[in-house]
């Protein structure tokens, strides 16, 4: 139906990257600034939804050649494993810890296990949003 939406498609190509980068920024800065896995995941998903709108679902599936449900399953698995991982260190379920490391390029950096859990949240949110929207979308 869409005959000529070259402007939309071009703008999308540009904007998508900005959104994704912003969403990753929001996700990573969640520990110290507003943001985190949930909002980051939603924004990343929004970027893909935009692609889906401007192009079609097939394009999104080409970019992410994985079943969306699998993404949320992976996220759940990471989140649970983060919790179970604390058993290895003889700590209670979902005990987190953090420390400061000197990393190349980044310098003095704080690494927290809570971020691992947040990755789980992030993936789950992306997975479920895309599943819901594209399942309903395909149904039309």
């Amino acid at each position: 139906m869409r005959t000529n939406d070259v402007i939309l498609k071009t703008v999308t190509q540009l904007v998508t990257f900005i959104i994704i980068i912003f969403s990753i920024y929001v996700f990573l800065s969640g520990h110290h600034h507003p943001g985190g896995g949930f909002i980051g995941g939603l924004m990343t998903a929004a970027a893909f939804v935009l692609i889906g709108l401007a192009f079609d679902i097939e394009t999104v599936k080409k970019i992410i050649p994985i079943d969306f449900k699998l993404i949320s399953a992976t996220g759940m698995l990471i989140a649970v494993l983060t919790g179970i991982g604390s058993f290895v260190f003889d700590a209670n379920f979902l005990s987190h810890t953090f420390d400061y490391f000197h990393l190349p390029l980044l310098g003095e950096t704080e690494l927290a296990t809570a971020v691992l859990f947040d990755i789980g949240v992030y993936l789950v949110v992306i997975g479920i949003t895309l599943t819901i929207i594209f399942t309903i979308g395909e149904d039309q």
């Binding site: 985190g36 949930f38 939603l42 449900k69 949320s72 989140a79 987190h96 479920i128 309903i136």
Partner: protein
Amino acid sequence: MTLLHWATISPFLLAILIPFFYKYFRQVHTGWFVLILPLILFIYFLRFLPTTSNGGVVTYEVPWVPSLGINFTVYLDGLSLLFVLLITGIGTLVVLYSIYYLSKVKEKLNNFYVYLLMFMGAMLGVVLSDNLIVLYAFWEMTSLASSLLISYWYHRKKSTYGAQKSMLITVTGGFAMLGGFALLYLMTGTFSIRGIIDQVALISTDALFIPAMLLVLLGAFTKSAQFPFHIWLPDAMEAPTPVSAYLHSATMVKAGIYLVARLTPVFGGVPEWFWLLSGFGIITLCWGSISAVRQKDLKAILAFSTISQLGLIMCLLGLGSASLYFGYGEEPEKYTTAATLAAIFHLINHATFKGSLFMTAGIIDHETGTRDIRKLGGLMTIMPVTFTISLIGLASMAGLPPFNGFLSKEMFFTGVLKATELSIFNMQTWGFIFPILAWVASVFTFAYCLIMFFKTFTGKFRPENYQVKVHEAPIGMLISPIILGSLVVIFGFFPNILAYTLIEPSVAAILPNLLGEGEKFDIHIYHWHGFNTELFMTLGVIIFGTLIYLTMKSWAKSHFYLQERDPINYLYDGSLEGLARGGQSFTSFYMTGSMRHYLLYIFSFLVLFLGFMFFRLDAVSFSGTESAPISAFEAIVALVMVTAAIVVAVARTRLTAIIGLGAVGYSLATFFVLFRAPDLALTQMVIETISTVLFLLCFYHLPLFKKKFESVPFKLGNLIVSLGVGILVTLLAISSHHSKFFDSLKDFFIGASYDEAGGKNMVNVILVDFRGFDTLFEILVLTIAAIGIYLMIKLRVAKEEQ
């Protein structure tokens, strides 16, 4: 577990084996395997006779639920032994009879004997238990087994009707009885009957005494078919005749009698017990005998006769309980003990003659194919043995000498006559009713015995009335009634063989503590008392009873005679149907199937309950002191939000409502910004966008045919309820804000989120670190929602393709 315990439960153990016998020994009638057990038990229990006749008791205890005071205690005294011998003795005869009565080929014998053994075991348990809860358990099992036996021919509608009726009535009573037992436990702290009897002096002044008595009596009356609960017994006649003979004449209907006799030491001696027992007993006696006259079915006559005889026994037990009030002394008080004695004696007599009568009725049914007295007649020469046994049984039931029924009837008359002389419980005012009613009932008893006898055996034999060729029953079927009939004669001629073996120990068990050490109740049963009132009463009974029979032609056309069913049945049927219909209409009244109504109930309850509690606890509180100042931004956003909300409520189209809802959501996000919650604001913004898009999607797919763009219809009820909820929740929020009892935990999180979790974003640290567990399951919820949506859509598509 002692031998006595094993003996009590042995019928249950045999019942387990019956299906195997039935399956693997098809050549042999299953009844033969069953027959051995009651016989062995009968002989085994006879061995206790010397012990109990000397006043001894046998008791063993096996803990069952010791922490609740529930123990399987067997307690064998004179009363228990009497019942045990009845149960096992008549049980043996009934099993023998049933072997010839029930066909090996046509009937499901395994069911029959399993139920019968279940019943026998339950009955043994009832009479041998000392613990009230164990007694109750066995008691209910008799109800269950009885219902199963009544509905033995379950393809007949009347059988299942009778079974359901007996179940409902006896279980109602049984449940009430359980309540009574619980009250007894509350008063005494023990379930043991002996333990309760020891504390009689303590409980008879308790406020719970009368309720407990009423509840227990309800159980006893329903089980023993006392007026007005007797209606189940005539309908229970749909059972096979061995069952009627066993359950509905000799054993189960006497469970109530047993209970009353057993608990007489607990409740006896107070006017309520005396009047309830003797009053209901005498009414049942009259009602049963008068109703029996108009029956046309042999077993129905016997059923009403059983009801009336049970009333007699109950009445005598009531009169006898008076002796607990003033002890075993001089006349006329001494005769109240004689009433108890008469009750026990008649109980034995009734078991013998009624058992044999049921069996002969069964024989007549079996050999002629009918039990209708209008069709029967002239069987005297064709069935001479059955005729003889019936004659003995009926003469005994009518109270003719020299049979045992005469003796107990004379003793009954003595009991009621002497009761009028009692100086207690208003007996001088009202006592005259007893002899009159007793006499009237005896006249009718005599009349129905005559009807039953002459209509069956005399007259002209009309072969065209019968489907089969009528002949005498096989000898095997006749053995049991012959034995019972002989007992009727033996007990009639030599009543004193029972006196100190069975009757005296039973009376001693019913009326304990009346005698000193080594004393015994004075029991002499004579045929001849001299020319006294009782004799003239008996003569009157014979004369008037004969008159009633002779004038039968003149009243046989009357409404009274033609109406066979007990009028109380209409009450029962009506109330049962009313209950069902009432329940149905009540359910369909409020279970409308409309979600709107259910929501209305839920919200109304919320408003009423919370509102009531607010009012009750005076919980509304508001003080302006802790409130923060309201800025202009907040006021403006609130105004926007309220406007949007009103737009949603009154919108004429759905699209407006969706947009309004979005506006509410964005205002909320703005509030989050204003109240410095950036994470919430971000999330709210995105989520609101997505949900609005989803709403639009739903709107776009609304079906066309019913899609009318009209505003929400106004309903006053909805407005009131929604206003109520709104006001209440607002009140709740304000009041709870102003009644904080503890400081919030925020100070901990402010300090700890950086020091302990290494994060500056407190919200996120709480979400993933301090309370990560919640988050874990929230993402699980999201995953489930996504999978749910996916499945709903995909499965629907798959179904459409099929």
